[in-house]
Amino acid sequence: MNYSATVKGKSFDFRDLRTLLAKASPRRAADELAGLAAVSEVERAVAQQVLADVPLRQFIEEPLIAPELDEVSRLILDQHDAVAFTPIANLSVGEFRDWLLTEDSDLAAISAGLMPEMAAAVSKIMRNQDLIAVARRYRVVTRFRNTIGLPGRLSTRLQPNHPTDDARGIAASILDGLLYGSGDAVIGINPATDNLDNVYTLLNLLDEIIVKHQIPTQSCVLAHVTTSMELMQRGAPVDLVFQSIAGTEAANRSFGIDLAMLQDAKAMAEALGRGSVGQQLMYFETGQGSALSANAHHGIDAQTCEARAYAVAREFNPLLVNTVVGFIGPEYLYDGKQIIRAGLEDHFCGKLLCVPMGCDICYTNHAEADQNDMDTLLTLLGVAGCNFIMGIPGADDVMLAYQSTSFHDALYLRQVLGLRPAPEFEAWLERMGIFDERNRLADARNAAPLLGNFHGLPKA
């Protein structure tokens, strides 16, 4: 297919579909670093016009990476459901945008017919409000020990990291988070080291807390999938299996994984049967720029690579998928504007591909961003119906040295948008005297039984 246009007497030629996608991408540092970005605003706008006229079918006929070279590409083609694709099969990218924005279009019906590149393509010609409006209409609900993603609900990952994995320090942050109503998506620790004994100790700590206080939530230590597999064999209490994933086989290889390994890990964890209301137990993290940083992007722009990672995610029916949007640094997403845009794109594409999207709304100190930008993205994602966000004491992760969202931030979002925790967790919070029946912190929570008998800590 020919991708070209003449605008005001000037002609623009785009070599192939992936070049066109990259040139049509809203501006971001990663694509500029990779040398893929439009060289002018006009080139970008023209690329978007050309992209809008591309038939969706073209993405089936012109794979961005040859399937024989890349197992993610093979997976995407295998996943594609021609029947589900039928209602949109004759649309162009631009017509697909119009279709999505129509109030009565049935997103759930076409999701299995969507390839990630189609979702990425249409996102590139959508404004922020379009990304929000479409994502808001669609919920992806998942279950393990509670129900995440229901309408009117917002969950949080309680992230109690500590620079040396000190058990008391981690327990202190967990207690703080629970007393602020955080932790229904997962209580998830990024370990300081992937050392087996260390991770085993942390898994036991989390399991004891959850069992002792009968908290309807799940735990995770975000170690490499091979570490989790080894520990499951040793009998460790693994609720969720974590792994960072990306949108190309080569990038996944740089993470030390492939699809078969993820399948093995999932089967192993399912055999443990630790869920109560469901058995969705994979927890994936992603982020624009990961394929580029692994030098494994195949000339594909960062956002399209990211959408392809969701095709990997959906293959494993995950409980949680988290785009860690600003962690990677300013050479990928330079400022608050780029981080906000990327967060909305990721959430939108994930939803379209039927992935339970959450977002680590975050930035590093060398990015041109601050907590006000996080407030903006937090509010927008709340409106867009994001499944979960992070809860970190004071938004300051003292292990990973970056800033995200705090327990307080989640309370803010609950208050301004009327969003409640997962129903099972909400009932627990009320039972424990932490929340009142109006979705607010209870006045009596300082007398909460949790505080009096929290395992391993001296009484306050």
Binding site: A172, S173, D176, A192, D396, H408, P458, A460
Partner: protein, 264 residues
């Protein structure tokens, strides 16, 4: 204003038990955060007075050599890490004048992602490191000073100086709790194209709370000696330094992952 479980702060630097004003942070906690972030931001964006630093190097009795990368601004430095990994042409020509000698060790200092760290600790660390190397009798080249450098810049400089080992002292990405942390990266047989797996890292050098200059210098000299003896550096080089020599080395090694992520 804080919560009754504030005493648990003894177990973690995390911002727990901050209390609340409605759903938000109390004013003092909010402003504490803003100040910490401001310190980190200033550390990233502050201009490094490299001439002043060179004067300090001379006062230590060492020879400074000021080099440059093609980076033209701090903004560009942050967006183009590839430019921070190579030398400007003028600097290549300057180094070429030194190409006829062979040295054991090339030492480089760059502000990296924290000018504050280099300003506050750079000279003292350099002094301690040079003293530790002197005990081992290693031949050193000039002290190369480069603004806006990344870790891999050391490969090109080390290669041009015919150094067997190269060490770069670099300002680490500031966190909220520490904006003044230095890291040191050691590479054996430096040449453009070295991978990160071929480097050893000593991170979180930031007395009095982080690693002390002395502990860092002892560790570096030990790793250097091992690298020269084994003929390689990086993940393959086991850090089996006797315990009595370490101070809080474990903490430093643990944080390497983060340090490398931010400065590379």
């Amino acid at each position: 204003m804080t919560d009754p479980w504030f005493t648990l702060r003894q177990f973690t630097q995390a911002r727990i038990a901050q209390g609340r004003a409605g759903c938000s942070l109390p004013t003092s906690a909010l402003l504490d955060f803003q100040l910490a972030h401001a310190s980190a931001r200033d550390a990233v964006h502050q201009v490094w007075d490299i001439a002043g630093f060179a004067g300090g190097v001379e006062q230590l009795g060492l020879e400074p050599m000021i080099l440059a990368t093609p980076v033209v601004s701090r903004e560009q430095y942050l967006q183009r890490p590839d430019l921070g990994r190579r030398l400007a042409q003028s600097s290549r020509e300057l180094l070429a004048t030194r190409a006829n000698q062979t040295i054991d060790l090339a030492l480089i200092v760059s502000n990296g992602l924290s000018s504050t760290a280099v300003d506050e600790h750079g000279l003292a660390l350099l002094h301690t490191v040079v003293a530790a190397y002197a005990e081992h009798g290693l031949r050193m080249g000039p002290i190369c000073l480069v603004a806006n450098g990344r870790v891999a810049l050391a490969d090109e400089i080390g290669a041009m100086l015919n150094a067997r080992l190269v060490v770069i002292i670099v300002g680490e990405r500031p966190g909220l709790s520490a904006a003044d942390s230095l890291g040191m990266y050691l590479t054996y047989s430096p040449k453009p194209g070295n991978t990160d797996a071929e480097r050893n890292c000593i991170s979180n050098i930031r007395p009095p709370t982080g690693l002390s200059f002395k502990a860092a210098a002892i560790k570096l000299a030990y790793l250097s000696e091992q690298a020269l003896r084994c003929g390689f550096s990086g993940v393959a080089l086991k850090d089996d330094m006797p315990e009595r020599l370490t101070e809080i080395g474990d903490v430093a090694l643990q944080k390497c992952k983060l340090g490398s992520e931010s400065a590379l």
